[in-house]
């Protein structure tokens, strides 16, 4: 027998489904409280203090530390979670629910870090370094998610983000290497001229791949997921083939410039936040800019309104004279430009050379970030940061010698993705016509 709804004045206030969800969440908080108490509270007893470094040696604010007793903080957070559990089970948090969930997540991670640092031989750990790494690692994921948003807002599923990233990475470094002598010693915003042309070429290559996606799915009405998977296979095969056949013997074709970080004057001097946000290479800044531009464009301009209409109800858009096919082509190619640009980041924005399959699934995580971010550019960035954090955490934890096998840490982003997609963070609605080809009679 299903539970009865909570009814007041003849209107249903809370449905059985909501009541059930609220109860599960409350129990989850409770279990988390117990876990944190045992693992990070009791578990940190005797390990002393943990020190989080909040400034690096090169920052003006150095040295700036936050030291605390790991066990104490563990107990504190466990208590907080228990209180949350109580409130959740009693009457819930209403519209604050998602924020509370985020706070709980942050708190658990904080307690975990405290425990990990306290038990580590060093006893200290650069938090600001990890947060900086978070931003850096979030970029490919955020860019992938943005590309996904652009495509899915016009109801075209873009599984090929992975291929566009990989292809962009390859093209960027190849073109930049070939043109490495162009412009002599001039350096613009962190990179020689060749580097910039490489980035442009990468973006164009991404647009080319997305054009293929558009043609096959819009004109020939092939299933969009299949086209995406096929593009990924094609790019993987082609780039691996070319790497072995051409780049291996001609390593001068695989030596791209790496874009140098640019510190924004004044802003990068802000203690703590400065180094985290305002001392990166141009890729990071452009990503921030893209988030703002796409948000504004989607919700405040003519282009955005029509694009969203095409994604939600293409027939309605068609009948008021909006060219559905043209919008799909246009937006998908924009998505390709963005993804190609993101691909350049893997090579020119980071290591300067191409390795086989160097994207390694980041494009798919970008898709998950898009879903997590509810198909909204700002949400995509927030989700990208979360995944970037998981990625950075997995890497830094190796240094702390926590005893957790590195393979499991490496699984973290993927597990997180599954949890997200399984709706653990609430259900979201994609654009209504997502994935359906539009048939004009």
């Amino acid at each position: 027998m299903t539970a009865l709804p909570v009814v007041a004045e003849g209107k249903v206030i809370r449905t059985p489904a909501e009541i059930r969800r609220a109860r599960y969440l409350g129990i989850t908080y409770l279990l988390l409280a117990v876990f944190v108490l045992w693992a990070f509270g009791l578990g940190s007893r005797g390990n002393g203090d943990a020190t989080f470094g909040l400034a690096r040696a090169t920052d003006p604010a150095y040295p700036l530390d936050f030291t605390f007793n790991a066990a104490f903080v563990g107990f504190l957070i466990a208590g907080m979670l228990a209180v949350m559990a109580g409130i959740q089970l009693a009457r819930g948090f209403g519209k604050w629910s998602n924020i509370v969930l985020a706070v709980a997540f942050v708190a658990v991670v904080f307690a975990f870090l405290g425990w990990a640092v306290a038990q580590s031989p060093q006893g200290s750990f650069s938090l600001v370094g990890m947060l900086q790494a978070t931003v850096v690692r979030s970029i490919p994921i955020t860019v992938g998610a943005l590309s996904g948003v652009l495509c899915e807002r016009v109801a075209v599923i873009n599984i090929a983000i992975e291929g566009m990233l990989l292809g962009g990475a390859f093209v960027a470094v190849l073109v930049a290497s070939v043109l490495s002598d162009l412009g002599g010693e001039t350096v613009i915003l962190g990179s020689p001229v060749g580097g910039w042309i490489g980035v442009a070429a990468a973006a164009l290559f991404g647009a080319l791949l997305s054009w293929v996606l558009a043609v096959l799915s819009v004109r020939y009405r092939v299933d969009q997921i299949i086209v995406g998977v096929v593009i990924n296979i094609f790019v993987l095969g082609l780039t691996s083939f070319l790497t072995l056949r051409v780049l291996a013997e001609n390593s001068h074709l695989n030596q791209g410039p790496i874009f140098k970080p640019l510190a924004i004057p004044l802003l990068s001097d802000i203690p703590i936040l400065g180094p985290i946000l305002f001392n990166h290479n141009i890729f990071v800044y452009v990503t921030f800019l893209l988030v703002a531009l796409i948000t504004y464009g989607l919700f405040r301009t003519r282009w955005g309104l029509r694009a969203r209409a095409v994604g939600e109800h293409p027939k309605a858009a068609d009948t008021v004279g909006v060219d559905v096919y043209r919008f799909r082509y246009l937006n998908v190619m924009l998505g390709g430009l963005v993804a190609g640009f993101g691909g350049a980041y893997f090579t020119l924005g980071s290591v300067g050379r191409f390795d086989e399959n160097m994207t390694n699934g980041r494009g798919y995580i970008g898709l998950a970030a898009m879903i997590f971010g509810r198909w909204h550019p700002v949400g995509a960035m927030a989700a990208g940061l979360v995944f970037g954090f998981a990625d950075a955490l997995a890497q830094k934890l190796g240094i702390l010698q926590t005893g957790i096998p590195s393979e499991f840490l490496g699984m973290a982003p993927f597990l997180a993705t599954i949890l997200v997609v399984a709706g653990l963070v609430g259900k979201a609605r994609p654009p209504a016509a997502d994935g359906q080809p539009y048939v004009k009679e």
Binding site: Y220, F234, N250
Partner: protein
């Protein structure tokens, strides 16, 4: 216009329904005719079933030839200094590549053995993807399911000693199936219960499986003693898939003719999936859910359980593919032993139109490409990754027959495009 008048026009070719026998007096009674009609699906004709895939493969190979040519750095260098020689060398390289490709796949007993050895896991993985398609699910997770199946199989392989092969081998097979079924059942369950799209979940599980296997290969339980690198203990002889032509060991060196019972297992599995899909009750339910989950629910089918069952069976098939590699070829587990087979299986299933018969044929083709590709890589230094490009092109041409039509001016019948959408969405 009266609604009823529309049905009085001549309909498209009648191809049989599930059984292909049709009303009395039908001409297509032969097995070949039946297979053909089923492969092409309802309403299409032989051109779509055979001609388009054949042309797709040929076109893809031709395009790869161009790619080989365009990426020959020596050719471009030589073009400036000694053009005649450069062209001649290029031509020879391309010809040699193709010759090596064919020689390596069909040019002799060893080549055929290699083809079949490569085909076995491909067929099984292709079944894993194909049966998912039939139920409306995208199983991109065959790679991870193979890895887990292989792990389970290797554990069963080295744990039991002293068992007769008649007992041990089925245990290993079962273990392989189970491992894959678990890994496939998870996304099925998540899709059914939470609506989580299986494309993303299976891809994530692939990555998790890779790391899990890496970890397990370093544990004492699984890692072979005395070694530091991640290799598992070996499968006992009683747990191995026997070589089919083992009796030839007296005549030729042992490792030459590798074809093993796995290919028989694969064909058997294909027949089993065929029976499952088209002759069994549960297969009817799978197909109904694949075409229209809402109507399936109305018909009283338990859609949740069906999604789980399909993915579990699909995972099991991929698990068998993994077991096939572990127990028939490698006799142990090494990192990445799945070698991209699960990935290729996607193109394979599409090429085979998600029909077990088509998947067997496509599997043999892809196996040939693999075997031939190895030979090509050895003989002419053309990296085997080119095969992925060939596969992707083949799938594109299959999925958009209009492209083939445009290139070759062939009529393929209107129904061709419908078929692609029908089971793929």
């Amino acid at each position: 216009m009266n609604d009823d008048e529309r049905t009085d026009e001549p309909q498209l070719d009648e191809a049989g329904g599930p059984e292909g026998t049709g009303p009395e007096g039908e001409a297509e009674r032969t097995v070949g005719g039946r297979l053909l009609s089923e492969l092409s699906g309802v309403g299409a004709d032989w051109r779509t079933a055979l001609l388009v895939p054949a042309l797709a493969v040929v076109t893809a190979l031709i395009i790869s030839g161009f790619i080989i040519a365009l990426t020959d750095v020596d050719f471009w260098r030589g073009l400036g200094t000694a053009p005649g020689q450069a062209w001649s060398d290029l031509w020879h390289e391309i010809v040699d590549s193709y010759v090596a490709l064919f020689r390596g796949s069909f040019g002799g007993l060893r080549a055929i053995s290699e083809t079949l050895t490569a085909s076995a896991p491909l067929i099984l993985a292709g079944l894993a993807v194909g049966i998912g398609f039939r139920a409306g699910l995208f199983n991109i997770g065959a790679e991870g399911q193979m890895l887990m199946g292989g792990m389970f199989a290797v554990v069963a392989g080295f744990t039991f000693t002293g068992l007769p092969v008649v007992v041990h081998l089925p245990l290993v097979v079962l273990a392989g199936f189970l491992g894959g079924a678990v890994w496939g059942g998870i996304p099925g369950l998540l899709r059914a219960k939470t609506g989580a799209h299986e494309v993303i979940v299976t891809i994530m599980l692939n990555n998790i499986a890779i790391r899990l296997v890496d970890y397990l290969l370093k544990t004492d339980w699984i890692q072979v003693e005395g070694r530091d690198d991640p290799i598992s203990k070996g499968v006992e002889v009683s747990g191995r898939l026997p070589r089919l032509l083992g009796f030839l060991e007296d005549v030729r060196p042992p490792s030459d003719i590798r074809v093993h019972a796995g290919i028989l297992l694969a064909v058997l599995a294909a027949w089993g999936i065929y029976w499952l899909l088209f002759r069994s009750t549960i297969g009817y339910e799978f197909r109904a859910v694949g075409y229209n989950p809402h109507a399936a629910k109305y018909a009283g089918m338990n859609v949740t359980w069906l999604y789980f069952a399909v993915m579990a069976i699909a995972g099991g098939m991929a698990g068998l593919a993994g077991m096939n590699q572990v127990s028939g070829v490698l006799y142990r587990v090494t990192p990445g032993f799945s070698a991209g087979i699960g990935f290729e299986a996607i193109s394979l299933a599409l090429l085979g139109r998600s029909h077990p018969g088509g998947i067997v044929l496509a599997g043999i083709l892809f196996g040939a490409l693999r075997a031939g590709g190895q030979e090509m890589q050895v003989a002419t230094d053309v990296p085997i990754d080119l095969i992925l490009v060939v596969q992707a092109l083949v799938v594109v041409f299959i999925a958009a027959p209009a492209l083939i039509r445009a290139i070759y001016r062939v009529r393929t019948g209107e129904a061709a495009e419908q078929l692609t959408k029908g089971w793929a969405t």
